[in-house]
Amino acid sequence: MNRYFLYLAFLNMVANVVSIVPSMLLKDRFNGSGMAIVLAVPIGVALSYIVVKSMEKFPRMDLPEILKSTVPNWVRFIILFVFGMVWFTAGLMILLVYGDISKVFINPDLSNLQIVCFFLALVIPVSLLKSDRILYMMEILFWINTPLIAFISVKSLFYQYMKWDAVWATGTTITKFPSIKLLSAASYIFVGSSNMIIFGRLFEKKIKKRAFAIIAVGGFFTLFTTFFIPIGLLGADGVGEYVYPWITSADSLRIELGFVERVIFPFLLLYASISFMSIIISWHVSLKLFPDIFSFTRRWGKFKKFSPWLMPSIFAVTAMYLGARLNEPLIFKLGSIFFTYRLGAEILLVLLLLYAAWRKKT
């Protein structure tokens, strides 16, 4: 089962390539993004190590069950609500961003609402499946997509038009200390392993230390490529003007003798599947965190009958509303607010799990 943990971690890393993380980092490329990338690796790996190792103290339990035995009910209510919202927003962000991308690049004649409806019709039923089935599905998608992603990154690293001087010109600003927002955005790519708060229940063996080394190396490589490939292709000064730097970068690649000359088309398809999988995972976790809230007092008992459909409907309506209402700058603004506080939520989770593990020991 160890490998599923790596899939969870890696899926989150690659999914964020098309989301807002690269745009945020690239916008501040001269103001500390380089340092943020370097610092994000130890921070991200340390946090995910603590989360996973504390979860292992409670074999075959997920976060709601752990909290049941450690904290009072009202605290549990608040905590689960907060984390449920965090995971919901994570999925929502990718849904909104990819919805916007599909409107711009795939079918401009469809309205945003229609696109979001299509996405929801796929995402919601799948995220209601059992956890183990989702993991199996993820494994298949992982092995289909990873070779293509590796191909595109390696291709662009050795591309004739890759300007390494531009990369170095940005690299010289590495001594600038990043803002919390940048640090939070950069370390976000490591939070994939935090999905273990739900999926951890399925893991029987302990996660080996080697897995974290792989995550550290993979995470650094991912951050490095997400940040520096657009800079190398679009220029240190020019990259700032693009709304979706990664899609433009993919469009700048040309495979002369490939099946498709323009890389953008396989890239968009690739990221459709990765984005969907990532939304499904986030919302699955979120949907598992919420139901407990409604069973916390007697008064909520009435809702129990509806509860399997209650949360998904709320998710769908929220996504549809935001998808129809938010324009591109607003989506990015929402995203940058989310990423600023995401690191805080992660640290809260770590402290909580440490507390729970400590309570169990004594």
Binding site: F30, V104, F105, N107, P108, D109, L110, Q114, C117, F118, A121, P125, Q160, Y161, K163, W164, D165, A166, V167, W168, A169, G171, T172, T173, T175, L233, L234, G235, A236, D237, G238, V239, E241, T248, D251, S252, L253, R254, E256, E261, R262, W309
Partner: protein, 366 residues
């Protein structure tokens, strides 16, 4: 069971979603090249020319048919909208491969026009960009017996997937745009001219160098070749060495250029090392295999002189298509002032060119 029915009902709702805006291929006009030029004698700003493909069932050499549509307007968007009303099919820019700017326009200001091309979602970033001389229509009107698809001649010669010529420079749209913005790396575009006689297809042996706004200088073919070899990733070229009777041609298979900016001495110096390897292709007098090292030295000297002359010219015009400025930015850490520093260094910088040639032989004869 009830859950399944609900699910099916939800899925059925998807049928209410209207069909996508996809138009059939026979209702589309594919634009393969676009030209933007300045208008003389009117108050309209741009003249936009589109080359539309007329699809044919057989793909034969010389059978390519196309349509030129043009319009004058104050901006490109307007021109395209008006052109849409002039043709019966939907204009599709998805296959736009060649973008041409008129020479007059390029000499005025080019930054504004590239905006439309980079802002539009459906323009390929890997379209080839060039300058049309004397004007856009003269170039876009060129058709050839050897073309199977309209504009294909440009596409395969720019990509060097057809002819591999040391004179042809080529530039993608994304790279041109990024060079327009990058401090320390200036843009360039190939200049395309009509053929001097009626048997040629077109002539593109010069390159136009820009500052950040307009064409600053158009290099002559020899300088173009040198620039192409040292900076623009050309692999194959020929070099004329010697004079009078002792003249021979070196056909280089690889040219590798490295440069660094040395600021340790009292005068900043750009040190450029060029490694050439190749064979001798033609000679006016008999050559001797034992004197190969002498020929190598001669090549070093002649090639070095040419490169040095080019670098000095670029410096005099204060343009930097090779990217010395960007290299300076990449290797210096004083981020606040380094760009201003470089701006004052570049006009006075010294150049040192070391060419190292490795000749594999004298060809098949001595």
């Amino acid at each position: 069971m009830r859950r399944k029915i609900v699910l099916i009902l939800i899925l059925l709702l998807l049928f209410l979603v209207s069909g996508c805006g996809f138009k059939d291929i026979d209702k589309r006009f594919f634009v393969v090249s676009i030209g933007v030029d300045k208008v003389k004698d009117t108050d309209q700003k741009y003249r936009v020319v589109l080359k539309l493909v007329i699809p044919s069932s057989t793909e034969k050499f010389g059978a390519s048919q196309s349509l030129l549509v043009h319009e004058e307007a104050n901006n490109i968007t307007d021109a395209i909208r008006i052109m849409k009303s002039k043709v019966d099919k939907e204009l599709d820019f998805g296959h736009l491969k060649v973008i041409l700017f008129g020479e007059e326009l390029a000499k005025q200001d080019i930054t504004q026009i590239t905006d439309w091309f980079t802002r539009r979602r459906d323009i390929q970033r890997i379209a080839w960009v060039g300058i049309a001389k004397p004007d856009v229509e003269a170039i876009m009107d060129l058709t050839s017996k050897a073309e199977r698809l309209p504009s294909n001649a440009f596409i395969i010669s720019f990509g060097q997937s057809g002819t591999e010529s040391a004179f042809i420079t080529s530039e993608y749209l994304f790279n041109f745009r990024s060079r327009l913005k990058e401090r320390g790396l200036d843009p360039f575009l190939p200049v395309i001219e009509p053929p001097p006689d009626k048997n040629g297809m077109f002539k593109t042996d010069t390159v136009a160098l820009f500052d950040k706004h307009r064409v600053k200088v158009i290099l002559n073919p020899d300088e173009t070749k040198a620039l192409n070899a040292i900076a623009l990733g050309l692999r194959k070229l020929d070099i004329e060495v010697g004079k009078g009777k002792e003249t021979f041609m070196v056909s280089a298979e690889s040219v590798k250029t490295k440069y660094k900016i040395d600021t340790t001495g009292n005068k900043p110096t750009v040190v450029m090392n060029v490694n050439i390897s190749g064979t001798i292709e033609e000679s006016k007098s008999a050559l001797s295999g034992s004197k190969l090292s002498h020929y190598e030295e001669m090549t070093d000297r002649y090639a070095g002189e040419r490169v040095l002359k080019l670098l000095k010219r670029l410096q005099k015009e204060n343009i930097d298509p090779i990217g010395f400025g960007l290299r300076y930015r990449a290797t210096h850490f004083n981020n606040q002032t380094k760009w201003e520093d470089w701006c004052s260094i570049y006009p006075n910088v010294d150049f040192k060119v070391n060419v190292h040639t490795e000749l594999r032989g004298t060809g098949l004869i001595q």
